[in-house]
Amino acid sequence: MSSELKFTKEHEWIKIKEGVAIIGISDFAQEQLGDIVSIELPKAGGVFRQGQTMAIVDSVKASSDIYAPISGEIIEVNEGLIEKPEMINQSPYDSGWIAKIKPSNMEEEFESLMTKEKYDRYIGEIK
């Protein structure tokens, strides 16, 4: 069973599936960035604290940090994005996922994230 999507203020999304957190950036974020042309992915095995920079995505005119939405160890990254970074634009919640993390402090941290409704309200405010 997979959980519902949760979001951060920095526009990452996270979904828990069988104890593993899948991470990507929101549809709003990819739209703001425009055509994504490259991504710097973390290495599997890397350990990040919540809020730490774990990846960088570049569009033609912008460069943006991706922050770890929760703490944990990277167990897999979406290697396909290196060849086809446009998958983040085309399918941000599915084939455009960025990394899978084994959470180390999920109970506490997961609570701090926004639900879909709350996130939609949030982007309504900042638009």
């Binding site: 055509d35 042309v37 490259s38 033609v60 005119k61 970074p85 446009e86």
Partner: protein, 483 residues
């Protein structure tokens, strides 16, 4: 247009040096000699000259028209300075020639330093850095060395959010952490936030003055005093010195270091992206950290001094972009004691344009500007700055800097410089106003613009996703003019 590698048939190059009888070539040992034929084409001179002449016709420069590219000071580059730099005595001089042969060059460099000291109010200069960014790098390295000798560990740099991208990039190259300070509603650095960020861990404050909004910071003296009270060095990014010549001096404003871009203020040509020259001035207490060698004047003549124990070393080979020093020196001699007129007219031209345009666009900060100003085209919608810029090309103008500074949405940053006539400025205003009405009447056409340039808008996304960054010999077989 073909690229040079697509000239199909092998021609006689014409450029062959004559071998003499004594030039017996010894065979190179096999393990170091080139095995494959050097894969560059033989093209005859006439084709080469036509190729690059035709390329030049697809370019825009100050010699072609108005080039109000904010923060770059695209003023006219006097031709006589080019002649000076190309004089045989300068251009054919080897940098390691004995000093009896180099007195003219050394004198020029020494005098140029004296002039720059006077213009900025600094005590000493180095001409070594190759460009502004390298001047900055040197400045930050010197600040680190200074604090190391004082036994202080300082790890942070204060930089306003309106700063050039090079400032934070330079700080980070030197492993300093950046503290970003926002701008206040008048476009000055937010003085309350600035005060809060001061402390014993801050090494330097990097300020552009006038800042990138084209505004002279009204609190400059207070900012310097506060920094100095905390033992912090004041660094001035002198990219905008064209507003200050003879009017006020960074050295008197409390700055301890300043780099100047000779290719901006002192009219050395921008060359399609360089060479520049990023000379660095300092107050006397930092003098001993300057790079070696320094040009000195002795009774016996001019000389290069390598003896400085606290020097940070070198940031490049030899003595700097000497050819640029010649041009800047020649430029300063043409103006001499009347150099203030340059800045006065740069400021007058900018304020004139601002006054004529401030109702058509939104003025980012409603104040009199220095040598440049920033408009926002946000009332014309998203991507309007880009569309206006592209359409300006059809009217024969180079566009202003767009989307910088980052803190102004749909920014158009306009720097006319002093060398433009009132007629040119009036034509530019007319063109901008015409474009704003086109944006309402025929927005699609504006989005398609430019319509009159050698190429239309280019696909930057494809360029980045499927990079083709060089020609390969394998392309020779399936070449074509367009793909």
């Amino acid at each position: 247009m073909k690229i040079i590698f697509e000239y199909e048939e092998e021609k006689n190059t014409g450029h062959l040096q004559k071998e003499e009888e004594e030039d017996v070539c010894i065979e190179l040992p096999d393990d170091i000699s080139r095995k494959e034929l050097l894969p560059i084409p033989n093209v005859n001179e006439v084709d080469v000259v036509r190729h690059y002449t035709n390329l030049s016709r697809m370019n825009f420069g100050v010699d072609i028209g108005f080039y109000p590219l904010g923060s770059c000071t695209m003023k006219y580059n006097p031709k006589v300075n080019e002649d000076a730099a190309r004089a045989e005595g300068f251009s054919n001089l080897h940098p390691l020639s004995p000093e009896v042969c180099t007195q003219g060059s050394l004198k020029l460099m020494w005098e140029l330093k004296e002039y720059l000291k006077d213009i900025t109010g600094m005590d000493d200069f180095t001409l070594q850095p190759s460009a502004g960014a390298q001047g900055e790098l040197l400045g930050v390295m010197m600040a680190k060395a200074y604090f190391r000798h004082k036994g202080e560990k300082r790890t942070k740099a204060i930089i306003p959010d309106s700063a050039h991208g090079t400032n934070p990039a330079t700080a980070s190259m030197c492993k300093l952490e950046t503290i970003t300070i926002p701008s206040d509603p008048r476009g000055n650095i937010d003085i309350r936030r600035y005060r809060e960020s001061l402390g014993p861990e801050v090494a330097l404050v990097m300020l552009t003055n006038p800042n990138t909004l084209g505004l002279f910071d009204e609190n400059t003296i207070e900012i310097s005093d506060l920094a100095h009270k905390n033992g912090i060095l004041m660094y001035c990014d002198g990219a905008n010195m064209n507003a200050l010549l003879g009017i006020t001096r960074p050295g008197d404003q409390g700055f301890d270091m300043i780099h100047l871009n000779l290719h901006k203020t002192f009219s050395t040509p921008h060359g399609g992206g360089g060479p520049g020259a990023g000379v660095l001035g300092v107050k006397s207490f930092l003098s001993e950290y300057l790079p070696v060698p320094q040009v000195v004047k002795r009774d016996s003549g001019y000389s290069l001094d390598y003896d400085c124990k606290k020097s940070v070393g070198r940031v490049r080979s030899f003595y700097g972009n000497f050819g640029m020093h010649v041009r800047a020196y020649s430029y300063i001699h043409s103006w001499g004691t009347k150099i203030r007129k340059v800045s006065e007219h740069a400021i007058l031209n900018a304020n004139y344009l601002q006054a004529l345009l401030k109702d058509t666009f939104d003025l980012a900060y409603d104040r009199r500007c220095a040598h440049e100003f920033v408009l926002s085209s946000r009332r014309f919608g998203e991507k309007s700055a880009l569309n206006i810029a592209k359409r300006l090309m059809d009217y024969g103008f180079h566009p202003p800097t767009i989307y910088f500074p980052l803190i102004v949405p749909e920014a158009l940053m306009i720097e006319p410089t002093e060398t433009e006539s009132k007629e040119t400025l009036d034509r530019f205003v007319l063109a901008l106003k015409k474009i704003t009405s086109e944006l309402k009447e025929d927005p699609e056409m504006v989005k398609q613009s430019p319509l009159s340039t050698p190429v239309g808008r280019l696909d930057e996304v494809a360029a980045a996703r499927r990079p083709n960054l060089r020609w390969r010999p394998s392309q020779r077989t399936n070449q074509s003019g367009s793909e």
